[in-house]
């Protein structure tokens, strides 16, 4: 990065200070707009419910409160189960996705693999054609039994051709073919070559694809909406969707006989849950930025 910064300073001599100030204002405005909604939601989550009732959401609330968070933790079993589900599927899903992706990408990376073109086609054809949502839903639910279990939440995400492209490109740029040849002359088997030689030299690529998988599974809510009807297998993202639906349902039916208003999730409570979901992403953000930019640049240009 340092090398790239120095020369750009040189060519900047021709932009006037005034112009650069305008540039700063434009970019800063957009950058702030990107982060302000999150800050706003954090503020709302710390606003007292009475202040919300009186004045609505505000950047400068009249009264602060941590009640939303204590209530979130009072959700008890529902919350811990959702958190547990999210963490479990993210960890297990990422590990399995990495095993599948690494093995497949390594085979596609080997130029001397006889069936390389066939397997490349089998994988990448799925990027341009598929059965569509309904047939996939029937296959996963009715044939493969992905219904109300953890499998449904990460099995459909195990292999992403895009990640195979990224992984293969990383292999191509970081593993010299001579290294593989010499390993095979030394009698190293393919699995040993992969584990002891290829993986250690392509760790940045592995970090990139792992983080992409992790992010995708952590942010996944659609699979839960498709395949999960019970309460035990709801991940955090889908808990948030369900709470919103409950609130809408309650709002529509409030005042009607039989409406249960007591258990209606409050506004600040849902915002607090929102913050809890974003926090792990925010903490992992420095890693994400570092590795994912590298991966996305590779993937987007070659993809």
């Amino acid at each position: 990065m340092e090398e790239k910064q120095k020369p750009s300073k040189n060519r900047l001599t021709s932009v006037s200070l005034g112009t650069e100030v305008i540039f700063h204002i434009i970019i800063a405005a957009f950058s702030l707009a990107c982060i302000i909604p999150f800050i706003f939601v954090v503020i709302i989550s710390f606003t007292s419910e009475d202040a919300i009732k009186a004045n609505g959401y505000s950047f400068f609330p009249e009264a602060w409160s941590v009640k939303a968070y204590t209530t979130v933790f009072d959700l008890g079993k529902t919350l811990w189960m959702a958190l547990g589900t999210s963490v479990f599927i993210t960890v297990l899903g990422t590990i399995l996705a990495m095993v599948v992706t690494l093995l497949y990408s390594y085979a596609l990376f080997r130029r001397d693999f006889k069936y390389r073109n066939v397997f490349t086609f089998i994988c990448f054809f799925t990027m341009i054609f598929g059965g569509g949502l309904a047939p996939t839903y029937i296959v996963c639910k009715n044939i493969l039994g992905m219904h109300n279990n953890y499998w449904a939440l990460f099995i459909p995400m195990l292999l992403n051709p895009f990640n195979v492209i990224i992984m293969r490109t990383f292999f191509q740029s970081s593993v010299p073919e001579a290294l593989i040849e010499s390993a095979s002359i030394d009698g190293s088997g393919e699995y040993r070559t992969l584990v002891q030689i290829v993986i250690p030299v392509s760790l940045p690529g592995i970090a990139t694809v792992s983080l992409l998988n992790m992010l995708a599974i952590w942010n996944e809510w659609f699979l839960a909406q498709l395949y999960i009807d019970d309460v035990e297998h709801v991940p955090l993202q889908y808990l948030l969707v369900k709470m919103q639906k409950t609130a809408e349902y309650m709002a529509r039916n409030s005042g009607k006989p039989g409406a249960v208003t007591a258990s209606m999730p409050t506004e600040s409570l849902r915002m607090a849950l929102c913050v809890i979901i974003v926090i792990p992403i925010a903490f992992a953000y420095p890693f994400f930025q570092r590795y994912i930019i590298a991966g996305l640049t590779v993937g987007a240009v070659k993809g």
Partner: protein, 325 residues
């Protein structure tokens, strides 16, 4: 490639050929987990497309096996497609899909390239880095979370821009009126994705050989001339590739954006928020007519396939190295 391998192994001893065979078998075994996954999750559903030619609303509770259930249903030819194209809402959601994507592609491109150029011109590198960090953040959030961000501003009971602002625009409430939604959806999409594309373009700009700028400066070119004659031509290839690839996906909408941000798109909003992907989903899970849902999905996939093939052919003409296949 294949002929080369065959020729080289043919020329060697039989011992060499058997290690070759072993190596290929081992490499095949490595593809096995992925292959099984691809067959089950990606290729098996392709056969499910026959459902779009059958009268199949929902699985029969009496059938023990979904496959025999599907085969036992009556063939209805193109009825599911006919039902689709005779409905006026169909044209609405197809038009929405294409128009929204076209707007996203054009505005996304212009904004991201403009921001990338502006950032590359900043002398305060610390601030430039900070801007990038902030801009990239929304890309990492799910549409569920983003829908709450939008709600914080537009909620009818507590949102920052409730009553006054809405009334001045002559609307009842954000979530009951279709009129503002084209703008909300475009803004939400640009908000979430511009940072990401901006960083892609920025990576391309930092890769430009700086001696070209120095030479231009010595020749008396000002900054704008340098941007026009050096920076933009260097971005040309990546712009064209990303542009064409996006055009190839013009019939595929971002489901999360159109489903979560309008909060399920209550009846009043569908005119502005319904796209192919949300329609397919609603047909599958809400209306429950699996035959029609499959038919729409199939139609979408065919259009998408044609678009991508055309796009790829064009990319290959522009820059053969960047073609997908």
């Amino acid at each position: 490639m294949a002929t080369h391998v065959a020729a080289s192994s043919g020329g060697k001893s039989t011992g060499m050929a058997s290690t070759d065979l072993k190596k290929n078998l081992i490499l095949c075994s490595m593809t096995l987990p992925g292959l099984i996954w691809l067959i089950l999750i990606r290729y098996l559903p392709m056969f499910g497309i026959i459902v779009s030619f059958k009268d199949f609303k929902l699985p029969s509770p009496r059938a023990t096996n979904i496959i025999s259930d599907i085969f036992s249903r009556e063939w209805v030819g193109l009825d599911n497609f006919g039902q689709l194209f005779s409905s006026p809402t169909t044209w609405q959601f197809m038009k929405n899909t294409i128009v929204y994507n076209a707007i996203f592609i054009v505005l996304g491109l212009v904004l991201a390239v403009a921001f990338a150029i502006l950032i590359s011109e900043l002398t305060t590198k610390f601030l430039a880095k900070t801007y990038q960090t902030l801009m990239f953040f929304p890309y990492f959030l799910s549409w569920v979370v983003v829908s709450y961000f939008v709600w914080a501003f537009l909620s009818p009971t507590a949102g920052l821009w409730r009553d006054g602002f809405v009334n001045s625009l002559g609307m009842s409430a954000w979530y009951n009126d279709a009129k503002p939604w084209p703008f909300i959806l475009v803004i939400a999409n640009l908000w979430k994705n511009t940072g990401y594309s901006c960083i892609l373009y920025l990576a391309a700009i930092t890769g430009i050989d700086t001696s070209q700028y120095e030479a231009a400066r010595i020749d008396g070119a000002n900054k704008w001339q340098q941007i026009w004659h050096i920076t933009l031509p260097h971005l040309r290839t990546i712009i064209i590739i990303l542009f064409i690839m996006n055009v190839g996906r013009i019939f595929n909408a971002d489901f999360g954006l159109f489903y979560q941000v309008p909060r399920g798109g209550a009846g009043a909003l569908t005119k502005a928020t319904e796209v192919v992907d949300t329609y397919v989903y609603k047909m599958l899970k809400d209306t429950i007519n699996i035959g029609v849902s499959t038919a729409v999905g199939f139609f979408q996939n065919i259009v998408g396939f044609v678009c991508i093939m055309v796009a790829n052919t064009i990319v290959r003409k522009v820059d053969p190295d960047s073609a997908m296949f």
